[in-house]
Symmetry: D2
Subunit: 365 residues, 4 copies
Amino acid sequence: MSSIFGQAYRIATWGESHGGGVGVMIDGCPAGIPLSEEMIQFELDRRRPGQSEIVTPRKEADVCEILSGTFQGVTLGTSIAILVRNKDARPAAYEEMAVNYRPSHADYTYEAKYGLRNWQGGGRASARETIGRVAAAAVAQQVIKTLCPDLEVLAWVKSIQDLNASVDHSTITKEQIESNIVRTGDTAMVDTMIDRIKEVRGDGNSIGGVVECIVRGCPAGLGAPVFDKLDAELAKAMLSIPATKGFEVGSGFSGTLQTGREHNDAFYMEGDRVRTKTNNSGGIQGGISNGENLIFRVAFKPTATIMSEQDTVNSDKEDSTLKGRGRHDACVLPRAVPMVEAMVNLVLCDHLLRQRGQNGKITFK
Amino acid sequence: MSSIFGQAYRIATWGESHGGGVGVMIDGCPAGIPLSEEMIQFELDRRRPGQSEIVTPRKEADVCEILSGTFQGVTLGTSIAILVRNKDARPAAYEEMAVNYRPSHADYTYEAKYGLRNWQGGGRASARETIGRVAAAAVAQQVIKTLCPDLEVLAWVKSIQDLNASVDHSTITKEQIESNIVRTGDTAMVDTMIDRIKEVRGDGNSIGGVVECIVRGCPAGLGAPVFDKLDAELAKAMLSIPATKGFEVGSGFSGTLQTGREHNDAFYMEGDRVRTKTNNSGGIQGGISNGENLIFRVAFKPTATIMSEQDTVNSDKEDSTLKGRGRHDACVLPRAVPMVEAMVNLVLCDHLLRQRGQNGKITFK
Amino acid sequence: MSSIFGQAYRIATWGESHGGGVGVMIDGCPAGIPLSEEMIQFELDRRRPGQSEIVTPRKEADVCEILSGTFQGVTLGTSIAILVRNKDARPAAYEEMAVNYRPSHADYTYEAKYGLRNWQGGGRASARETIGRVAAAAVAQQVIKTLCPDLEVLAWVKSIQDLNASVDHSTITKEQIESNIVRTGDTAMVDTMIDRIKEVRGDGNSIGGVVECIVRGCPAGLGAPVFDKLDAELAKAMLSIPATKGFEVGSGFSGTLQTGREHNDAFYMEGDRVRTKTNNSGGIQGGISNGENLIFRVAFKPTATIMSEQDTVNSDKEDSTLKGRGRHDACVLPRAVPMVEAMVNLVLCDHLLRQRGQNGKITFK
Amino acid sequence: MSSIFGQAYRIATWGESHGGGVGVMIDGCPAGIPLSEEMIQFELDRRRPGQSEIVTPRKEADVCEILSGTFQGVTLGTSIAILVRNKDARPAAYEEMAVNYRPSHADYTYEAKYGLRNWQGGGRASARETIGRVAAAAVAQQVIKTLCPDLEVLAWVKSIQDLNASVDHSTITKEQIESNIVRTGDTAMVDTMIDRIKEVRGDGNSIGGVVECIVRGCPAGLGAPVFDKLDAELAKAMLSIPATKGFEVGSGFSGTLQTGREHNDAFYMEGDRVRTKTNNSGGIQGGISNGENLIFRVAFKPTATIMSEQDTVNSDKEDSTLKGRGRHDACVLPRAVPMVEAMVNLVLCDHLLRQRGQNGKITFK
């Protein structure tokens, strides 16, 4: 369904940028998992607006409330609901969008689909929608911590427009990434990237880039044959994030330039563990994790809402023009990092429980 | 579930490369749709092995039988089952794989997941698995033809390794693509591409490439907010095809180099129809189709099974070597074209029925 | 999933009797349906505690808030969330249940399943859980009203213990049922039933009974072959209501005493409409509605929580005794009526949308 | 979906009584479960026509073929497909049904839903459809045997019309039930029941009855709160079997005559095991199994197809008459027993895997 995701660990999200609030209901969470509002708040704070000088200045504390599903600090095994109220909504800033469709935004397509739309903010197409995902993923993270204590999900800004970060997958740490407001893994690039974002914003324009993500300590055996391949599930999860335009795993598009002899990841034994010498597979073979790091990249387009006049049409189906107003990110990348991580946690938690359900244990040696 | 796909038009596939056969069950197909084995066979013939000199020589007629769900030439509305028998299985060719894991294939990961595997052929990781999808998609195509007679799905080989096809999206036809065994849209590249495939195969090696796909006549309003965005569904569908490594829609990864001002697709009126001047969105905005052509690309890695000796480990967890045997494609691209189209048809048919169910009609103007 | 119901019209509920609140998220609701909090409140008031002298005196106004999914008085087509806060929770009243399992309640089984439980109130096994369903069903009712204006769902108390109501299915009205606090369709039985409930309550005991339900104006063609037969869906829906022990459709268990010649419903033409002379089928044949009234009955057991001492065991696994405290219904039947109607509305709305999705129209003549 | 059942152990069935065959695809089955065609055939033989003098004389050996999903005698963890060919189809016997709707059968409702129907045999409404379920349940039984070796599902004919069997739940054995062709648990009633069936059949009439079922050794903790209560799942499963009219668990409808004091099942300790003194709950409390025997009953109506002339209408919507032909059971009860058991096995297997997935182990003590 449109706002429901996952099979064994299933979440249902709701909420527009303007209205009572946004939230999520989680079904299938194991019982006895330690959970507090602080744990969830920590992740919400990483995605919230106003967190730094290079993101949207919308002032939202995004304080979460657990409505159900926990008791005395642990999960009950029954459905968990989490709510975040909207506080700093400014519908007046959107009145112009009531008539004019924002180019490359969802205004026109929502109206084409439903015959109407909530023009105050982006409705369900607002990035604010991702709050529900991030909250549910913070819970998923606690489940994963219980089942796979060594599993670590790490995403960073790989590029902003043509500015590329150079990151060593074997040494990069969450601390390094979180140490800068761009959330890039290459500290040498931080100032250049910040300058670029400010420059573009000053020009009433916007830019995009690429987020890279690895998962360390992922057990072998996650994902399922045919349709629910782990990379297929990740691809859907990533393309469901607003503003994404592409996904590639391991060697990705550049792998098409190699021959099989170069591209194949030779196996070898490291003690009693099966390893691969290279990792063009990105940790997934035949749709199932092989115990190596998962590696993938996600393309984010330049933000659609820009502070410049653009040609468009209005809801009376006449040619028109529109100049963005409101508070928007000129570059979504820094805030996209926790969204990417959130979706990875949701996919992995779901597949960990599915694997335990079907095959009884999480890793075969 | 692992071998079940779609919500309103749901398919369930089965079958290994070696065993009784492969097939599919379709649930939710509308009643009264004209359907014959010939319609299905036509698409199966496009994906079958042995169809030309540049694909695997496995001799399989892949003759389909409709087991249920039709009566007097039309669908009954109840579940449809389609079966294709395996004929030219040669388990002996795989005996070496019983002990040695093929690098970058699914041998090791299936064993990690399930504790055992069918080493005769690739099991469910064989490309033979896609027969069920192609058959179900041939049925989906008939449904689409009834609901959207103008909708046309066109995929072609965009590149093989570094050889790029130049294709005009507005004029390319199915006839042009099918006129050559590579299934590229650029007839000037046909011979070069064929030569490359033969050369690589002669060297016991393999190569990959990119398939590009457009959908003409796609109604606005398909796809759903948040998780079932049309591009997210397509991404999952594409990454579920064996050997895929990436997916990008519209401007894709290269769109990250542009600014918002360049990237945004300005709206304008063409008669009473809302159009966009450019199509960096690839026909999808906010996860919902906007009536422009859908455009996306899929990366296929070089075939994992190569006729050269490679380092690997065996099921006793010892270092070993393996040289591929059996009948394999040195380049899957020509046969990937109908697989890509099949998955598009499945996704679109599902979302057409979902849209009709929820909102009562298929296109709002 | 445990707290998710429906396919095309899918709801996800949450909330315990003690905690932040109870609520529901609805996915798949058509756009443009008129919806207000008043419409939902009307149905919540019919199920709320404290509404009359014969139900639990727990004081809950059960005021609902629509958190998302509507705009300017109509549904947006995106997910709708509705929240009802818990106000009159009294955890102290449940302290004894922290150690002693209530006989025939869910205390022991939740602990067996999850290894722990929320002993404050009944957790998810509390009748308070049904608020989410009733709210979602009030929305479903609006959808049905749009699609099938003549469809009417009518449930009433058919029996309380051995006291049987005599009800004429062709003339009974909602006004008659709602005119008395027992919600029976036989006004001659009202006082006798009220007296019985008061008598039993005075004795610290409880009683059950049967709710009967008809649906008038149900289009032919709802329900689906094999597993999602309309009666199978209703059976699941009814047995999911707390305290239910049985479901029968049409002739039900007593139909097993007849021969086929007596039991078969002969068809005849009434104008251009196919009718049946009798309705032992309860309006459903082969799992699909035939246009006659749907008719079924649901058995509710005597309330488990009684104000008398009972033998039980405690969580230390020792024999023990327990005497109920807190505020409970001595007879759930009057409040069960809106719960039964709610589940019918959910099932019918789901199948209306499914039928429209698959077959394009809701009734074939 | 219409022909898909289950969540973790999911089956998809197909096939009409006339056509290529009937079958099932199973998704989510654990790997490494011993499975042979003989195991499946054993259960198919219990449901097949022609097995005794009191069932339909249609001659079908119903030989099954495993098409996929097993290797060297065990399951692979991937999708399993099983096919049974139709052999003794006699479409000519149904020609009259092409125009006349059989009263209380699915002819009219299928046409109302789909606009057409397969009039050769009952289409998907034929009892032949249950072959897929029985085959999938035979596989489920193997999974259950691995996870819960002591679990035993026992169903028998409790009544045929007014003839009631007296059965002791603590001593009844599968051997006793299978020792007679009626499959009743009361050997003293066998001849009387057989005589009644023959008498009614001789009169061109039909009769129904009740199947009772217990499950011994069912672990506590199966089923899930709210919608997927174990009794709700069983209710749906049972009402999905052709010809069923009612379901009751534990005390069922007669429990509505008792007071809470009589009806509640007092807990006591038996060694370290929590037991109940009575079992009015039928082994399920709050929708979750409590470790006692599951007990429920299912009502089957008299067979709709009778060999007597009946009033009906035809597809031209004119009043008409019809006299049944073809080969039919005058009483479905003996063959209903394995169908009931099959659906129980499917539900329990699904919930065992769901419980293992969510909570990691199958029984908490």
